[in-house]
Subunit: 549 residues, 2 copies
């Protein structure tokens, strides 16, 4: 590929522009053109919820470089040497050609290499009314009507359908600054079901409710109608009345052009590419939200429409097109989202996803401080760890709480990508200082719980129904008083636990504040031949959203 | 080791207690005793500077568990089944025996397995006066006199000798809450020279000075005298008068007992142990601040007295003693410290250390936002990356700034431990969301700068003296006006850079705000046959501590 080539990229968002700009740098003599159907492009779409919330002043901020220039056609021409043809829809037009259809007519474009960076569009639910009170949230122009409605005080109650990443961000945006009443409606039993298992997910739901958001789980949308007075939603047996409804039930890859070109799609419905981001058609490549990736844990094809992956794919594809040796590696699927006061992040597989993929997986849960416990700003975070039983291989980590979780998920991501096992996680080296971390990082603490579990110190899931189990509360009397266990329990502080002087029962369930003492208690009882299990994450986890934690 | 054994641990801080408590859990029938020369033990020593500063209310907070119990003799007896003999100094007394010397006399203790967890003590400089105004800072009892002096207003000016981790924490503590004048005296040219190369180190020095701390670099202590009126220090040609002086020039491993037992020390002066933490003497083991570790990058023996490593070694040694298959792995040396408004952290090797170890190493520097640049709380951080030239292997990362750096160093640590190269770092997967990270993480941006460097887009170090180089400032006019470049430079915004219309010079030096645009400029000029280099980290880095950044 050393002689000058004509490269046409379709789609001017993260993947397409990154690819185009880098390729032009690496191969300055090549022609690199980007075709984009919209007039306004290259904005940080991930920032849109924060414009709605007011965290970010204006939409324009999302279009600016860090030094203040608007990323428009002339910016890309002058700074990057890349011609962006904005306002032109690309259609297939025979070998090596595209037909562009715009408001001013049609034109043709010739290419030697074609890059499909056509992105994704919001998934539309069938049968929804076409009414201004029923909205989706994906593009720049989706922000203004909602924000104006909020400013004018016309939106007092919002129903957000779908508690995925965007749904949760929207609930946060509507509620935190504008004080709108928000009902978050989700078909699964907890928010962010793609990222989180029930244990962390339920904690997030409770934290959202404590922050004033109504979470309606196990509530598949049954009907949605709108008129001048508002919207009416029926979901999970409930009826929700709201001023406006935003439907955020995920995105679907835009593959219209790919299909017109005869490019094969994968099992996910997104464009199938190899590790060099080549499609099934020679000289046609694809990157960003329209392609599928390979999951590092399951090896399965997955559709992960994330700005960070799109960006990296754009860079990789530029390298490949420029003739460099590069490949896009499998992804662990690291994700983070702010949910009111809580930070939520996850990587790898949930327990549910691991089992669906046929893995013999288990999970453990801990509640632990994100910094030295004596540091005044230390916050409890909730961590779930998923592993493969036989090998001990780390499959996934989920974390949520007011403390620092996103970067810990980044650490876990590297371990998952490296195929690390629980012992490796238990040996975690981290930069310890009281303002940043405890001497044992929460990730290591989670590994200890998992290793304990494998050694028979078995944790029950945090929200398990204890029914009529014989429960021993190992906390100090003052702790039990300050944050009572919700059921019947005999209080015996760990320091006074004597195996011979315990209630007569086949099995005991131990509970404490975070799970640490009760895990120790289980081991001590086992040494005396008493069978016990403990409640993972302890009272701190079970009572998230309660009066005191 | 399955029949009951008598294990004696000498030293009741992180390594010794962790080892003892875990071993007792794993082998409940064994006798596990801990001998400690001090009456008060098991406190979070890493928190001492924050008790001084007032961030932490009281010394007692450091001794409490997260649920409020004081970790004293009775706590360890009742909760852990471990007997702590506090106030007894251990001496060698023939095979399998220790002599304990205490205020109440002497006694003997028999052991089958002996664990040396004797820790480290502050390094003492020769010839310092024994005077209450000349202090060190290591133990619990070092806090009160200084804090009382501050409370009574008797300490208005403090001279801290040594700008290592403790020195920097002390400078922060004295200055931030108490408003004491602080002079931080360091033999090297910048603070934290063990962690940081000159580039990041100088930025930290400037940030300390902007926060009101006087940093005196290249200032080896020549003399220190004290009388009733104050202390007088001469260092680097300067004379510093202060009310009190705290000498914090590192620690030395306490190896007295080890040496008396005939245990071999390593090249660092600390106890040499194998990966199972066995010393040269059968049945004698060691862990914590008194042992040396293996550095993951250089393979050299290093002495790293860190609470987090001590804790992990204690766990490993308990596993080994209990008969489990475990080993303590090489360490990357991850470290973090709060320095007034800045967070500072590093892992792996500095450029200087890598070269000392005989590695052909290079470094690159970037200044970049820690979150999406449009996120209102985004802060610039300064990142240095060190790699091996031939292999591209990642050798070290240093980061500092108001933004999040400690956890990014944790991510880099995993990559270094995995032997990752720059391409791997450039492909970094991270949990992206605007409130937590930019779409391209600063670590990936640092990798890009390093890869650019390897491709001939060469960065000059951030604080390089540009002498009479021909400098082109690629920023917009308003940027240059807001934060002027300190020397002579022709202003040509990147978008207007035309290779044919540039000053006549053999080589140009390009500068911009962060280094990104000037790196692009260098590549663009190279395509036209013009030789140029750029200033890594740009004006943002050169002018840390200036009026606006």
């Amino acid at each position: 590929m050393s002689q000058p080539r004509r490269v046409v990229v379709v789609g001017a968002s993260a993947a397409g522009l990154r690819c185009a700009c880098r390729l032009k740098r690496l191969q300055p003599t090549w022609s690199v053109q980007v075709v984009e159907s919209r007039e306004v492009f290259s904005y940080g779409a991930c920032g849109l919820p924060y414009v709605l919330s007011g965290d970010i002043d204006s939409l324009e901020a999302l279009r600016r470089t860090s030094y203040g220039l608007i990323r428009d056609v002339s910016y890309f021409a002058s700074h990057k040497g890349v011609e962006v043809l904005a306002g032109w829809r690309a259609e297939a037009a025979g070998e090596g050609r595209l037909r562009l259809v715009g408001s001013e007519g049609e034109r043709e474009l010739e290419w030697d290499e074609l890059v499909l960076a056509t992105g994704a569009a919001p998934r539309r639910l069938a049968g929804l009314p076409d009414h201004p009170r029923v909205r989706c949230f994906h593009h720049l122009e989706d922000v203004a009507p909602l924000k104006q409605g909020l400013i004018r005080g016309e939106i007092g109650h919002v129903a957000v359908v779908g508690a995925g990443l965007v749904g949760v961000e929207l609930a946060d945006a509507f509620s935190s600054l504008w004080g709108a009443e928000v009902t978050l409606i989700e078909a699964a039993g907890w928010p962010l079901p793609g990222l989180l298992d029930r244990e962390v997910g339920t904690a997030v739901a409770r934290s959202l409710e404590a922050a004033g958001i109504r979470f309606l789980g196990d509530a598949a949308l049954e009907s949605l109608s709108a008129d001048d007075d508002g919207v009416t939603l029926k979901a999970g047996g409930d009826t929700v009345l709201a001023d406006v409804s935003v439907v955020a039930v995920g995105v679907v890859p835009d593959t219209a052009l790919a299909q017109a070109l005869g490019v094969e799609l994968g099992v996910t419905g997104a464009i199938r590419v190899d590790q060099h981001l080549a499609t099934s058609r020679p000289h046609v490549w694809a990157a960003g939200d329209c392609v599928e990736s390979r999951h590092a844990v399951t090896g399965e094809a997955v559709h992960m429409p994330l700005g960070s992956l799109a960006n990296r794919q754009g860079r990789t594809l530029a390298n490949v097109l420029a003739g460099r040796d590069d490949a896009f590696p499998p992804v662990a699927g690291a994700l983070a989202v702010k949910a009111m006061e809580w930070n939520v992040a996850a990587t790898g597989c949930t327990l549910a996803a691991a089992r669906r993929a046929g893995l013999d997986a288990a999970a453990a849960w801990v509640a632990t401080e994100d910094r030295a416990h004596y540091w005044p700003e230390a916050k409890v975070i909730h961590v779930g760890v998923v592993w493969e039983r036989d090998s001990g291989r780390l499959l996934g980590v989920q974390a949520a709480g007011e403390g620092e979780v996103a970067k810990r998920i980044d650490v876990a991501t590297q371990l998952i990508l490296a195929g690390a096992d629980l012992e490796r996680l238990a040996h975690l080296e981290h930069a310890y200082a009281p303002p940043y971390a405890p001497a044992l990082d929460p990730l290591a603490v989670a590994a200890f719980a998992a290793l304990n579990h494998e050694e028979g110190v078995e944790a029950l899931p945090p929200f398990v129904d204890l029914g009529d189990a014989t429960v021993i509360d190992l906390r100090l009397a003052e702790e039990s008083q300050a944050q009572p266990f919700e059921g019947e329990a005999e209080g015996i502080p760990l320091g006074e636990l004597e195996p011979d002087r315990l209630p007569d029962a086949d099995e005991l369930v131990l509970i404490c504040q975070r799970g640490t003492r009760s895990a120790e208690g289980v081991r001590a009882l086992a040494a005396s031949g008493r069978r016990a299990r403990y409640v993972g994450g302890g009272v701190a986890w079970r009572q998230v959203g309660g009066e005191k934690n």
